[in-house]
Amino acid sequence: MNRFITTVTSIFLSIFLISCGANTNTEKTIKKDSIECMQASDFIVNYGKNHAEYDKKYLDEAVTVQGEVVVSESMDEDGFKVEIKGNGEDETVNCIFDKTALSKEKLPKIGDIVVIKGKCTGYMEEDMIGLKTITMVQCLIIQ
């Protein structure tokens, strides 16, 4: 009888622990995704202020950015490019799409507000022209 109780208790305990683990993982994923979604203008400003810290946090990570499209074009065999505006015309998030990830017909129009997810590859400042840009590759249009 004791062995039976021990076995049943062990099974329930195992199921409980496994389910807890599964829940934790799901929660982490959702939480991470929601944290990464940000306005393009904020992302550029904050990246510029905390360059080293943001490199550690975002390089090679999937991020989701929202903003207004200022450039939307095909790069022929190399896919597509969409630029999202920051605070001014010299601040952009540069989104590169693989040619399989988008089509000419589905390219957003200039002025559209889009949400784009991609892999962040870094932040660059070009002193000569005063440009600040964040680059994302392997992008997908979320909205």
Partner: protein, 185 residues
């Protein structure tokens, strides 16, 4: 006294004149850099379409900046090795070039044509900076200026080591091609 006043006036006029001169700048955020390695065993190619390229039409200053993690390979495993083992892109996430287009005053930006150009400058990859000279072309076509250049990079110059296991598959000299269609700023 009069001479001193005249002199000051001239200096003031010159200062006003020079500060009013606007430099003509050209740039693109989607210049393309291609790395190509050829060996008898394997050809390896990586492409980066997110290069920030800019130049000054008057002074000849030219600059190119790139994020290493934007280089895309056909094989994902190669891309991983490129970032983790060779370029160590977590430690050195950026590469850049700063230099001068020589004799830029000989280029007529008002006339559509292809001009041969030479640049001299400093290339920084993998945390190492080296002097580099390149030859290329600058094509003026309407409102665009297309820069096209090709040069070779010795891996050992930039302290990039090849693991012995794959050494036979990776060339010691990597061919680098850059092309950018620039617009006026």
């Amino acid at each position: 006294m009069k001479i001193r006043v005249r002199f000051l006036c001239i200096v003031f006029m010159l200062m006003s004149f020079t500060s009013g001169v606007k430099r003509q700048l050209w740039y693109t955020t989607t210049a393309k850099i291609t790395f190509f390695s050829h060996t008898t065993v394997e050809d390896i190619k990586a492409v980066n379409n997110a290069v920030v390229l800019a130049f000054d039409q008057d002074a000849g200053d030219i600059s190119a900046k790139v994020t290493i993690k934007s280089f895309l390979f056909k094989k994902k495993l190669m891309q991983e090795h490129f970032n983790e083992n060779y370029l160590e892109s977590d430690i050195y996430p950026y590469a850049n070039y700063k230099g001068k287009i020589l004799d830029i005053n000989k280029i007529n930006f008002a006339k559509d044509s292809i001009y041969k150009v030479k640049t001299k400058g400093k290339l920084t990859i993998h945390g190492v900076t080296k002097d580099i000279s390149t030859y290329g072309t600058l094509q003026i076509a309407g409102a665009t200026a297309t820069i096209d250049a090709k040069f070779e990079v010795l891996l050992e110059d930039f302290n990039i080591k090849k693991p012995s296991v794959v050494a036979i598959k990776i060339a010691d000299k990597i061919e680098v091609t850059i092309k950018g269609v620039c617009n006026k700023k």
